[in-house]
């Protein structure tokens, strides 16, 4: 079943064409990588998939509904209910503990539940670090908190922007293992990256160049 469908979308920033005529379908349970050099439109595409931006042309269909014409408020609601975001810079709220950062996502979604938040941290192996502030955590740990936060509301789509870009090799491994586990559990994951190693683990790799899809590779081993 198709979870997300991009139909002929384009995005212009003034005269700059960030994306041109993109068609892409993401299936339920799929693990997809978007690759490309800097300036190829990766970020713009991620913003559009993550409901943080709207395309200039074309439509975005999420679970059969066209969301490309929704206003900012509705987009916020869709993002809150259906999408889990993971950032390269982690973007944790500095004055909240790991646990509270996870709970903040619950709070904006519905009701904070400390037990559930603790379980989410346990899944990423951080139960004993739950009461630490982001400044007391290593980069890998912060990224794991970020993942726990993305997962807490059971999103349909997990969208990760360079999730390993700021991590060393060991932490990169840990994070990728978590993604693999999520994939095994049936989550739909879109990873934006320019690290071939990350892309290798996915089912399909979409390569962007100058705002167009230049190549789609199926990774046979999956």
């Amino acid at each position: 079943m198709d979870l997300l469908e991009l139909r002929d979308i384009s995005k212009f920033y003034g005269n700059v064409k960030a994306l041109q005529n993109i068609d892409l379908t993401v299936k339920q349970g799929e693990w997809l990588a978007i690759m490309g050099p800097s300036g190829s439109g990766k970020t713009t595409m991620m913003n559009i998939i993550g409901c943080m931006d709207k395309p200039s042309n074309g439509s975005v269909v999420l679970e059969g509904t066209d969301i490309s014409k929704e206003n900012a408020k509705n987009l916020t609601n869709i993002r809150r209910d259906k999408i889990g975001l993971i950032f390269q810079q982690f973007h944790l709220i500095t004055y909240l503990t790991a646990l509270e950062n996870v709970m903040a996502a619950q709070y904006y979604h519905s009701m904070p539940d400390e037990k559930e938040a603790l379980e989410a941290l346990e899944r990423v192996g951080l139960r004993d670090r739950a009461r630490h502030l982001p400044s007391q955590l290593s980069g890998g740990e912060q990224q794991r908190v970020c993942i726990a936060r993305a997962l807490i509301n059971y999103p349909m789509l997990i969208l990760a922007d360079e999730p390993t870009g700021n991590l060393d090799e060991m932490n990169e491994g840990i994070v990728l293992d978590i993604f693999k586990q999520l994939h095994r559990d049936g989550s739909t994951i879109v990873v934006v990256t320019h690290d071939p190693e990350v892309a290798e683990g996915t089912q399909r790799t979409v390569v962007l160049e100058h705002g167009r899809i230049s190549r789609i590779t199926q990774n046979e081993n999956k």
Binding site: T43, N47, G50, M52, D53, K73, T76, N77, R79, R80, D81, L85, F87, Q89, H91, I93, T94, Y95, L96, T97, E100, M103, A104, A105, Q106, Y107, Y108, H109, P112, L133, R149
Partner: protein, 373 residues
């Protein structure tokens, strides 16, 4: 969770929040301090103006040439206890010293100290019996100095002659008619002249506004027979005009200082909040509605405003008290309405100052905020 987020933000971002709290507290201190002073100025300055001496005098009216001995006590019932600075009765009569005719005045020395604080005394005020305070002119005329003795002679009300010895306790200079008098206690005066007459004049120094004085005047003339109360215009009118100027001065200064301080507080708060645009973007990316972001910042602002305001009330009162003790050597009266007023104003200003930048920030696209490092 809401409360937890707000308090965490306030406690864990300590240095920034101290900056903001300090800003609010400064504003609140200036607010409560200046307003307390502004309210207390008329009272405090009014007390100072009493150094101009009596502003109400009582003279006999009708057929009587003197007032009863109890007139001072009766007048007191029409004046609020704290307002009556001094009420000095005077009896006047002629005595002779070295065969020179001179005016003697019998009065309540302790009250005179209060009604005429401007008297410049060389030597001391009379304390014991048979001590007299003499005017500079008298001292020059009969060559007396503090400590020297003189004999007063004359005839009393009954026509009997008397002779009494006095010690000069001090010499008074005023630049006015008082310099030609010999002042002594009422009992010494009565001992010489007898007590058949009465009080000639009562000088009252009352700390009150013009309207309150007018009120006292009409009450006295209605309720005490044969007494004409007269306001000393030179003192009352001038006091009114100068005092109103002073109050206007403090009022304007207060308004200007408050205005500038409040804007200062607002800009600081705005700077503190603007800094957190990234956080706002992140919360939006996490799916927070604009409303809940606004609510969070507002909550922080209100909490800050309340704490800062509370701190400011205390500091402001301490400041006003310091000013009052230094300037007037009197404690200041605390205006209890200032507690809620200061709190409300500081909460309102911080809230408002938070809202403007938060509103701007919530309009921002989360994607741009997150990416635009």
């Amino acid at each position: 969770m809401y409360f937890r987020m707000i308090t965490s933000s306030l406690i864990r971002r300590r240095s920034r929040m101290i900056v903001a709290l300090l800003a609010v507290a400064i504003g609140a201190t200036i607010l409560s301090g200046l307003v307390t002073i502004y309210y207390d100025i008329p009272r405090q300055m009014g007390q100072e103006f009493r150094s101009y001496g009596a502003n109400l005098i009582l003279v006999p009216s009708g057929d009587d040439t003197v007032l009863g001995y109890d007139v001072a006590e009766r007048v007191k019932t029409f004046i609020a206890k704290d307002d009556a600075v001094g009420i000095a009765p005077y009896r006047y009569g002629t005595i002779k010293v070295n065969e020179q005719p001179l005016m003697a005045a019998g009065t309540d020395i302790n009250e005179v100290k209060r009604t005429s604080p401007y008297w410049f005394i060389t030597g001391q005020w009379p304390e014991a019996d048979k001590e007299a305070l003499i005017g500079q002119e008298v001292a020059d005329l009969i060559r007396l100095s503090p400590g020297s003795r003189f004999t007063a002679t004359g005839t009393d009300g009954g026509g009997n002659s008397f002779s009494r010895d006095f010690v000069v306790s001090g010499i008074v200079q005023t630049g006015g008619t008082e310099e030609a008098f010999i002042f002594m206690s009422l009992s010494d005066y009565g001992d010489m002249m007898g007590n058949s007459g009465g009080i000639d004049v009562v000088e009252c120094s009352i700390s009150a506004s013009q309207t309150a004085l007018d009120d006292i005047v009409s009450q006295i003339s209605e309720n005490i027979e044969n007494v004409t109360p007269r306001l000393v215009k030179r003192v009352t009118e001038s006091e009114g005009s100068v005092l109103s100027k002073l109050q206007a001065l403090v009022y304007l200064v207060t308004v200007v200082v408050l205005l500038l301080t409040m804007i200062c507080v607002a800009t600081t708060m705005m700077a503190v909040v603007t800094e957190r645009r990234k956080e706002i973007g992140l919360k939006k990316a996490l799916g927070a509605a604009n409303k809940s972001i606004v609510m969070e910042f507002l909550g922080e602002g209100l909490l800050l405003g309340a704490f800062g305001g509370l701190l400011g009330v205390a500091l402001g009162f301490m400041f006003a008290q310091t000013v009052s003790m230094n300037v007037f050597s009197r404690p200041i009266s605390f205006q209890s309405f200032l507690i809620p007023a200061t709190l409300i104003i500081s909460v309102a200003i911080t809230g408002l100052a938070c809202l403007i930048p938060v509103r701007n920030a919530t309009d921002v696209d989360p994607a741009i905020v997150l990416r635009g490092e």
